[in-house]
């Protein structure tokens, strides 16, 4: 083994504080090190060239760069190694800038000492590392889009236009989703169906889109590039290709049921056209409502259908698909207003929801008056949103604007109307929204800041009495209204919840689908190859929905376009000799990447490389390919090796996403923390096993801290629980050996918690100082205490 060590000055950033020559001198005595250089800018071309040249001249097979954070320049040096003909993981960085020169700038000597230890840790780690081949996977061009609202429509069109094969599955008999039900759309007031129908027609006609309406997903298995999907197409009993939508059948059909498209305010027949803009534009028989298909009881529609479209023998069809990527666009449901009984929805005839008003307006424009709207109209905002009493803490984001829109439409249609919007905060955040709000005020719509506690019905005229505190004048206003419109919020649709369960997609605390990272991966789900778009991810308006749908399509294309994609090299591996197939690991894996086949088998594309499974294996059969047990143990050993008596060493295991980034941020901000704290980078702290921690204590660690991403931003769901369990085991073992259990702790972080990080690093050092070093006889006991399962 031949290692080259390169100590970087970072143009003074490091060398003004750390004695780089001393570090280089020290490194030259480390095992297997054959070249050491101290260079002004390692990341510069000349710095990188030095590595490439040395690999050639000294036949180096491993490289350590003692410089800045691997998160900063890691990929640079990986590329350098590729150029030099080595595997990219054969370079290790010692982060002596963010973790030593900067946070300890006031104590240059300590900073130098720490830089030496960090360098030794990196050398020891790379000595245990094995060259890892980057694996690629073949991937095809088949995309499953679930849900045919505007999100699913947009994503399908983008993908299809880019030459990908789309299977669009919609559970109802037509695509269009909620947008098809709307009147006009804020803030521009274009007619919803006028802008939607061309897109719906494009979907129906596109050669690359296979439209499967009236269909449901039965089962999804496999993983990115290799999903197996089973779909059931329900029988329509009407041949789409023949039906001319002449509506003759409706005239003879004897059965009337509530029309769901009009939210039950009108009736439809058992054979019906789902809406006037239905796509596919064909009738369908509602088998539950029909008097009887098998055996046939009525048969009237068949007799009148001149197109011969009716087929009572239609059967469900089952389809199996091989799919490469999936976009979930299963949308929202409106909040069930009956859950706020104080507003009397369903009880008072003049209290309706905003979606019902949308339908009333559309129908009226087509000459069909569902019910009179009246002159005095009130909108009540935030119904089912921002309300702890119903468990929805979030703002639904669109109801302020849709109420403003509906009020404007009604006011313009009849300026003698007196319209009030009762709100708490008016959210007009989007492009053109504030102007639209101003416009509504200009029309004479009154925005009153206050929400009513309850509504009452005048028993004589059935009008609704609204009493509300105008919180700006502190007076109670009371007025009778012809119509009260509840601005109901958005909740995840039933279909969204079902699909989340089927695909094992995590949901955030608001119940909507959780994205892989709220800032940087907003349309990825934590499962590779599955994306989310539209209101399934959270309440949003049409422009945001469409933007997200295009983004999801682009993300799917990014993955599929090259025909293969490179997987992260950080993956779990099972030692088949050791594994006895007990199945413990399965329970710990947060993404179901382990299958049992006599022995445990890792599904490589699914595995996220968190390492949560490692500590669960009673036979130590699991390891990670990068950040392996050996590598981490080597780092621990090196961190503790030259510790002098009385000196303290705290090991902070930092997950690579949150805690490590946070520590870099703290360093960059030159916030000081104890120089006794040594950071060890891991993909997730759940890969740090109780055995490792106990071994570290045995070797002289004075404290151990595990940092992990907060659940909400973590790419690995549920690892915090594994960490909690592991820490508890270590605490128990420490107690048994008579060692203070608070020497080991853990905490969730997000990348901005600077003071919290500093406090914790200092607190751990303080604890160690308070207790002193762990006496040798107690440490030895750790050897024999059992890790309690």
């Amino acid at each position: 083994m031949r290692i080259g060590v390169y100590v970087c000055h970072c143009g003074g950033n490091i060398s003004d504080i750390v004695d780089v020559d001393e570090v280089a001198q020290f490194a030259s005595h480390l095992p297997d090190v054959v070249v050491v250089r101290s260079i002004s800018h390692m990341c510069s071309e000349s710095g990188q060239k030095a590595i490439v040249d040395d690999v050639g001249e000294y036949r180096l097979d491993r490289v350590v760069v003692a410089a800045c954070s691997p998160q900063f320049q890691g990929t640079t040096f990986e590329k350098t190694l590729l150029k030099a003909g080595l595997k990219p993981n054969m370079v290790e960085m010692a982060n002596i800038r963010e973790q030593s020169a900067w946070p300890h700038y006031e104590m240059p000597e300590k900073a130098t000492e720490k830089a030496k230890v960090l360098t030794a840790m990196a050398v020891e780690k790379i000595r245990r590392a094995k060259p890892v081949e980057r694996e690629s996977m073949k991937i095809g061009k088949n995309v499953l889009v679930i849900g045919g609202g505007i999100a699913g429509i947009q994503a399908s069109l983008d993908l299809a236009n880019a030459g990908f094969n789309v299977f669009l599955v919609e559970k109802s008999p037509t695509i269009g989703g909620h947008m098809a039900q709307l009147s006009r759309t804020f803030p521009t007031e274009d007619c919803a169906s006028c802008i939607l129908t061309p897109k719906m027609a494009d979907v129906a006609e596109h050669p690359n889109i296979h439209l499967l309406t009236y269909s449901e997903i039965l089962e999804v298995s496999g993983s990115v590039g290799n999903f197996k999907v089973r779909i059931k197409m329900k029988p329509r009993y009407v041949d789409e290709s023949r039906c001319t939508a002449c509506r003759e059948c409706e005239k003879v059909c004897p059965v009337s049921v509530p029309d769901e498209f009009n939210l039950g305010m009108t009736k439809r027949k058992a054979i019906y056209l789902p809406s006037s803009i239905a796509t596919p534009h064909s009738h369908v028989i509602d088998a539950d409502a029909c008097l009887g298909i098998v055996p046939l009881r009525c048969g009237l529609c068949e007799q009148v259908c001149e197109a011969n479209a009716i087929n009572y023998d239609d059967m469900p069809k089952y389809i199996n698909l091989d799919i490469d990527t999936i976009i979930v666009a299963t949308g929202f449901d409106i909040f069930n207003a009956k859950l706020k009984p104080q507003y009397g929805y369903g009880k008072f005839q003049n209290v309706i929801t905003a979606l019902e008003l949308e339908r009333m307006i559309v129908e009226a424009a087509e000459g069909h008056i569902i019910r009179p709207i009246g002159k005095d109209i009130a909108f009540i905002q935030c119904v089912g949103s921002r309300d702890k009493q119903v468990g929805n803490l979030y703002c639904s984001r669109i109801c302020c604007m849709y109420a403003t829109k509906l009020a404007s439409l009604l006011k313009r249609a009849d300026p003698s109307r007196d319209i009030y919007i009762f709100y708490t905060d008016l959210r007009a955040y989007g492009k053109g929204f504030e102007e639209y709000y101003r416009n509504a005020q200009n029309l004479g719509i009154k925005f009153i800041r206050g929400r009513p506690g309850e509504l009452m019905e005048n028993p004589e005229n059935k009008k609704v009495i609204v009493r509300v505190e105008d919180t700006l004048t502190r007076k109670i206003i009371e007025k009778e209204f012809d119509l009260v419109v509840l601005s109901v919020g958005l909740v995840p649709s039933k279909g969204t919840i079902e699909i989340a369960e089927m695909l094992k997609l995590p949901r955030s605390s608001d119940g909507f689908l959780k994205e892989a990272h709220p800032k940087f991966r907003p349309v990825d789900t934590p499962i590779e190859g599955i994306f989310v778009a539209g209101t399934a991810q959270g309440p949003k308006d049409i422009p945001d929905t469409v933007a997200q749908a295009s983004a999801a399509a682009a993300r799917a294309i990014t993955l599929m376009n090259k025909g293969e994609f490179e997987m992260s090299p950080i993956k779990a591996i099972i030692d088949e000799e050791k594994c006895d197939g007990c199945g413990e690991c399965i329970k710990h894996c947060p993404v179901d990447a382990i299958k049992m086949n006599g022995k445990a088998k890792i599904n490589i594309p699914i595995c996220k490389g968190c390492g949560a499974c490692i500590s669960s294996c009673p036979r130590d059969a699991i390891d990670l390919k990068i950040f392996s047990n050996d590598e981490i143990m080597a780092e621990i050993e090196a961190a503790l090796k030259d510790k002098k008596a009385g000196e303290k060493r705290i090991l902070i295991f930092a997950d690579n996403i949150c805690t490590y980034t946070l520590a870099d941020g703290v360093g960059t901000a030159k916030m000081r923390y104890s120089s006794d704290a040594f950071i060890i980078r891991v993909p997730s702290s759940s890969r740090v096993t109780p055995k490792m921690m106990l071994k570290a204590f045995e070797m002289g660690a004075d404290g151990i801290f595990l940092g992990e991403c907060e659940e909400a931003v973590s790419p690995y769901p549920k690892t915090l629980k594994v960490i909690e369990e592991n820490v508890k085991k270590v605490k128990d073992a420490l107690s048994k050996a008579g060692i203070e259990p608070d020497r080991v702790q853990y905490s969730p972080f997000v990348t901005v918690m600077f003071p919290k990080f500093v406090n914790i690093a200092n607190k751990m050092a303080e604890i160690a100082n308070k207790y002193g070093n762990i006496p040798e006889e107690k440490r030895k006991k750790l050897n024999i205490v059992e890790v309690v399962e």
């Binding site: 009493q389 800041r449 929400r451 506690g453 309850e454 009493r467 505190e469 919180t471 502190r474 109670i476």
Partner: protein, 131 residues
């Protein structure tokens, strides 16, 4: 005339005191006014329930002198409806405690003729008007 309230340390202290006594995070109130129109006594009050919450938020101590806090019937309607989950009844109780803890008797038991008040009113009066 628009009254000016100068925010000083004592305003913050007052808020802290009420939060401490009531155990309720008064700053969480979003001033929606739901409590006011839920309150059966609101029309009798010189400051509305939501107004009381606002006064406490800005540390306006004069709210302790309001009649409203004594009108609160502790019916808890506001509490079950507050969208921020604040127990307002506890806040008004805390404000009453601020007066009660001054140890001034507003009712002299000896002067109350036993039959003149219904028993429940007597108990309530003792709770509210006696420190």
């Amino acid at each position: 005339m628009t009254e000016v309230i100068h925010i000083e340390k004592k305003n913050v202290k007052f808020l802290q005191k009420v939060v401490e006594l009531s155990g309720e995070e008064v700053t969480m109130c979003e001033q929606c006014g739901i409590c006011t129109t839920s309150c059966p006594m609101a029309e009798e009050m010189d400051v509305s329930p939501a107004g009381i919450m606002r006064a406490v938020q800005i540390g306006d101590e004069s709210v302790v002198e309001s009649k409203a806090i004594w009108f609160c019937a502790s019916c808890f309607t506001c509490t079950v409806r507050c969208p921020r989950g604040i127990d307002l009844a506890k806040v008004t109780e805390a404000l009453r405690q601020l007066t009660l803890r001054k140890n001034v008797d507003h009712i002299d038991l000896d002067e109350v003729k036993k039959e003149s008040l219904p028993a429940i009113a007597l108990v309530s009066a003792l709770r509210k008007f006696t420190g």
